[in-house]
Amino acid sequence: MSNVLESDLEDFGALVKQSSPELLEYLEKGDFSGAFNVIQDLSEARHKSFYNEVGSLTRSLHDAIRDFQIESIGSSSSQQEGEATSKIADASDRLNYVIETTSAAANKTMDMVDESVPVSSELQQRAKELRKDWGRLIQRDLTPQEFRELYKRIDTFLAYADDSATTLHSNLNTILLEQGYQDLTGQVITRVNDLIRDVEEKLVHLVAVAGRVDSISGVKHQDKKVAEHDDDRGHGPAINKQNNPEVLNSQDDVDDLLSSLGF
């Protein structure tokens, strides 16, 4: 029965079936030693096939993780063992990079807005004042002295308008360029996404094998109810709002719900 040891998990069930007449025969003959030999062989085959399967799964899981690479934080010289964990840590680092990059871009954009708002306010303020006196000019309501002043003020205003437009234009350009974060972070997220999908695939495989092992070994598990996510801790932004009747789609829906509660 040496070939039994080579059998893998899929064949194990067949092997049990195949061996049972033999086992029965020994038992009927009263040959307990022969019967125990069959049981022994079955037991060894079971262990062996299980370890083979776990070994191959471990290798494929390891491969999936090792395949995940984002350049620059490579630790190619590190040992095989450390490498597997470093790729996950790398994914985590990369997600932190996303947080930092989006935060930097948001802050830079807001810096530009903060810088631009006073410029546009000042421009508006000066234009309003000039417009008032310009209206009086049209009405021929200005003294010659006032007219001379207006003449000078218009010159100053035009220079200021020119400078302001230049500043605003440059700030808008900076805001535009800052949006490049979307490309950079998008690339990183796509890679992390691929890793997650890959790992999930392997995990599903692992669960399937675990199920097969359970069915052969007769181990029964108590189904644990998955703990519901606590509303108090929060869920973060809802991604598939349209498909979830529990999630409100807009501020209007929220307002409607609140007003139905007497708000």
Binding site: T102, A106, V113, R233, G234, E246, V247, L248, S250, V254
Partner: protein, 126 residues
């Protein structure tokens, strides 16, 4: 009018701070979760609380409940500005005594509207 803005993301705090400034509220302070917000509130100078929901440490709903349970703080108006949009959560917030609820992403108009509505109610109650 001193307003406390509580959010774990500094960019969101900054957005809210800028919008409030445009609405004429220039006196603001910031905290990054309920744990850091509570001592500031207990300092007794805060007139209005704007808080996120989902934060590490103490969440916004917990902060709201803590504020309502504190005899000195319970009358402070609380505006929730959050991405949490589950029906049950909004009901919980209403039951906990929130004064307004704005879902992210939000507009300047929505924020303005809610704040004005809260003040209208407070004035009407006087």
């Amino acid at each position: 009018m001193k307003i406390l803005i509580v959010d774990d993301f500094s960019t969101m705090r900054r957005i809210i701070k800028n919008l409030l400034r445009d609405l004429g509220f220039t006196n603001t302070v910031e905290a990054d979760d309920g744990v850091t917000a509570l001592p500031i509130l207990q300092g007794g100078t805060i007139d209005f609380l704007v808080t996120d929901w989902n934060m590490p440490g103490m969440t916004g709903i917990e902060l709201l409940r803590a504020v309502r349970a504190d005899s000195k703080l319970k009358t402070i108006p609380v505006l929730m500005v959050t991405a949490e949009a589950k029906r049950d959560q909004i009901i919980s917030a209403a039951q906990a005594g929130v004064n307004g609820y704005v879902v992210k992403p939000f507009t300047a108009v929505a924020l303005k509207e809610k704040i004005e509505k809260i003040f209208e109610r407070i004035d009407a109650a006087k």
